[in-house]
Amino acid sequence: MKNFERRDFLRVLGWGGASASVAACGYTSIDSGVETVKSYVEPEDFNIPGVGVYYASTCTQCEAQCGVVGRVRDGRVLKLEGNTASGINRGKLCGLGQASVQHHYNPDRLRAPLLRDGGTLKPVSWTEATSALLDRSAATKDGRFAFLTGPVSGHLKVLVRNTTESLGSNQHFTYDPLSTRVNRVAADQLFGAESPRLVLDQAQLIVSFGADFLDTWVSPVHFAGQYARFRRATESKPRGVLVQIEPRMTVTGANADRWIAIRPGTEGVLALGLANALLSAKGHAGGAVPPAIATAAAAFDKTRVTTETGVSAEVFDRLVRLMQERAPSVVLSGPSAEGHVHGSANAQAILALNWVLGNVGKTVLLPPKLPFEQIGPESGDTASLRQFAAALAAGKLDTVFIHDVNPVYSAPAFLKMKELLDKAHFKVVFAQYLDETAKEADLVLPIDSALEDWGTHVPAYQPEGIEITMQQPLMERLYPEGTRSIGDVLLEVLKRRRPEEYKGFADYYAYLHAALVKNRAAFVGAAGDGEQFWTDALSKGVLQVNAPEQHVPAKAASVELDFAGAAQAADSKFPFSLAPAVRAGMRDGRHANLPWLQETPDTLTTIVWDSWAEVHPATAKRLGIVDGDIIEVASASGSLRVQAYIFPGVHPDVIGVPLGQGHESMGRYADGRGVNPFQILDPVFDRKTGELAMYATRVHIGKTGVRGRVVKDEGWKSGAVKTQAGRKLVVTLSADKAKLSGEV
């Protein structure tokens, strides 16, 4: 008040009258001399303050690796869009991709290396950190080193492998908590490729056994684009019909014409039942069907299938008829079918339906083979985490490097990852945040965000030809003294260990530049001049590899079905199956510290900033559970206390709990929020591949007597979704009135 000078007085006086009545609404005048103008010394010609420029790069938020174009203004990246040159996303981008700027600008990013000193992590300079890294890793004896990474491809994979070798080891473990390895192995057996190309838009029918291809599965943006065309009727094909079969409704399930809630684990039984019905129908050509499938299917008649799966005979008949009438179709297998002891058998039986229906060669094709195997995608699995844990437990590892995964958070509690990590003497974690794993490290190296780093990526799912996508910094480092590229750090190690091979590369950029320019003849339309090629590659963001198309085999290889354990006896102690649902925004929990994604309502429940347990209305009624009751979900391996959400989109014998929340150490937006269902998974594994059976955990639930309020967009009142409080926000029609059954 005492700074109210004459000039201010007059200024106010001048804006009396009309402005007085609305002055509080924003007659804002900014005082002079408060902020500093950002100006340039020697800007590039294209750099105009206030005008955006666009750079192509790659989205690293999930394994799909869409191409992105980032808008950069005044040296800051503002927003990402899809790159039209990318065959994966064709200019589109999902919400998860949009949110990656929040990884970049995140306030919880590490800004200095941390070195363990007498039990606590203390900030050190990069010089100290690098010498600690080089000296202490050099002391590792042969074979006692391991590198644990997330899914990795491109030249970073080469550096990771070579670093591992240079430290006298061959133990590079690629861990993906949401691994699709069961699917890949089954597809490889049946079609001869781990990731066959799925031409959804050519199909007239999609039958998906739990593959949430619109939201979380493999390459969601690409599949969503195809799905849009699949749904559009043209002169040559009718509007496509989608049938989703799964124990817990996914976003794809919510889009389906018919959603079938199946008893968990019996997906293979239904698939074989369908195969049997199709093969024994009049007029079926047979031929290419794998003999083991045909033999096994014969035992699954309609009565057995309907009893075991809980799918009614009427729905079963409809499904058979749809499959007969609509060709070509696509049959997909997803995590809820594959996450069981007999998950591989389920996947084989489901994918074999594509042979039975004659889809192979029409909607299921083979992508070309990548000519350079060394940069090919290493998609990761959970079996490798178990190998890593076993090596730690046996005391075989002294030094471990961990990058892009957070096993202390995402490994099931039975693996006791935190305790096992103690057995290694020198743990180096490359991380953006001080997450649960970084907290256990001896040296934490803060790495660049994806928008500051260089890289090349080879997406595992290739919709057109073979694409290598380029990643380039969209802006200068936010913390030039604080973070480094992991590529640069690994090159430091390699320069020390193998100077003669690596001394020529100043940094990771120089390495990438040299490697790509040298091999430019391998790419489609590469110009003769190296620099021209490099500039083109960066401005386009995508490189097409010269590779001949592969042809699908005329016949499937023989498969062996192992269905033991498929029929589950009723378990009175743990009567429910746990469905640990993947959310598009959270995935394996790595994105929990992005407020945009926390704030984005879950697509089906509209819940924000929290976890929940989905309980079927009939089950809830039986147990006296209402919306918001805090219930205990307990397996043999652990328990969670979480709010109940009454949800008709689950099988009555299933409890759905989403993954991604329940962090102890990640950042301000993630910590102490919700629960982490990874922790209560039972030690059950797919018999064939050794993958963790994510959907095989049995749980019981009980009330705790505590009640909360579910924070969700649809309104806090139970049942508000049905009435929308009388406001007709979204006008709906119940399914029985819509006469969908006429067609589906």
Binding site: M1, F4, R7, D8, F9, L10, R11, V12, L13, G14, W15, G16, G17, A18, S19, A20, S21, V22, A23, A24, C25, G26, Y27, T28, S29, I30, D31, S32, G33, V34, E35, T36, V37, K38, S39, Y40, V41, E42, P43, I48, P49, G50, V51
Partner: protein, 203 residues
């Protein structure tokens, strides 16, 4: 506080606005460059016609001329200028004419319209908002740059129509706005898209 005072006074008197002189790292003499030398504003503020911000000229621009102007090389301000250049460091000038983040004002549109299209003299065009810069050393804010002030200009030259729906949104926010008797069609189509649509400035 000002808002409260305004409510209390509620007087409708118009007085000239006068901003404070801001202390800058270098007291740049606009009077010499734009006044004595008669250099076009846009020679240095080169972004004004191409971007929504006019920008501080890059340091390279200053040096481009001054490296060959021997007569003033020993002046303290020029010495200071070359110190920044040798360090390759931008001069931390303070903002004088700043707008809140929720306002999107485009220099480009105003320059393109008045200078290039209507051919008005540059000192007049820039002067609408910045006053007589030729008489200043460092820039001083001479207009309040509030919404009411913006509207006062647009209102004077292109009054809103009382007829039709275009005026409604502006009217809600600015109830005392003078409206013209002309029909909406009578108002120049180009300018009626101007500030009469909230979205034009508040995107």
């Amino acid at each position: 506080m000002q808002a409260l005072a305004a409510l209390a006074l509620g007087l409708a008197t118009s007085l000239a606005y006068a901003g404070d002189k801001v202390e800058q790292p270098i007291e740049f003499p606009h009077d010499v460059h734009a006044g004595k030398m008669g250099i076009n504003c846009m020679y240095c503020h080169t972004y004004a016609r191409r971007s929504r911000v006019s920008g501080i000229p890059p340091l390279r621009k200053c040096i481009g001329c001054h490296q060959s102007i021997e007569s003033v090389k020993d002046k303290p301000r020029i010495k200071k200028l070359f110190e920044y250049w040798d360090k390759k460091e931008a001069i931390p000038f303070k903002k004088v004419n700043d707008l809140p983040d929720f306002v999107r004002f485009s220099h480009e549109r105003h320059i393109q319209r008045f200078y290039f299209q209507l051919g008005r003299p540059v000192e007049e065009v820039c002067g609408y908002c910045h006053g007589n810069v030729r008489g200043m050393t460092v820039d001083v804010k001479v207009e309040p740059l509030t919404m009411g002030w913006c509207v006062s200009c647009h209102q004077k030259d292109h009054p809103n129509s009382k007829v039709g729906v275009e005026a409604v949104s502006a009217r809600v926010i600015f109830p005392r706005m003078e409206l013209s008797e002309q029909s909406a069609q009578g108002v120049n189509a180009e300018t009626s898209h101007g500030p009469n649509d909230c979205w034009q400035c508040h995107k």
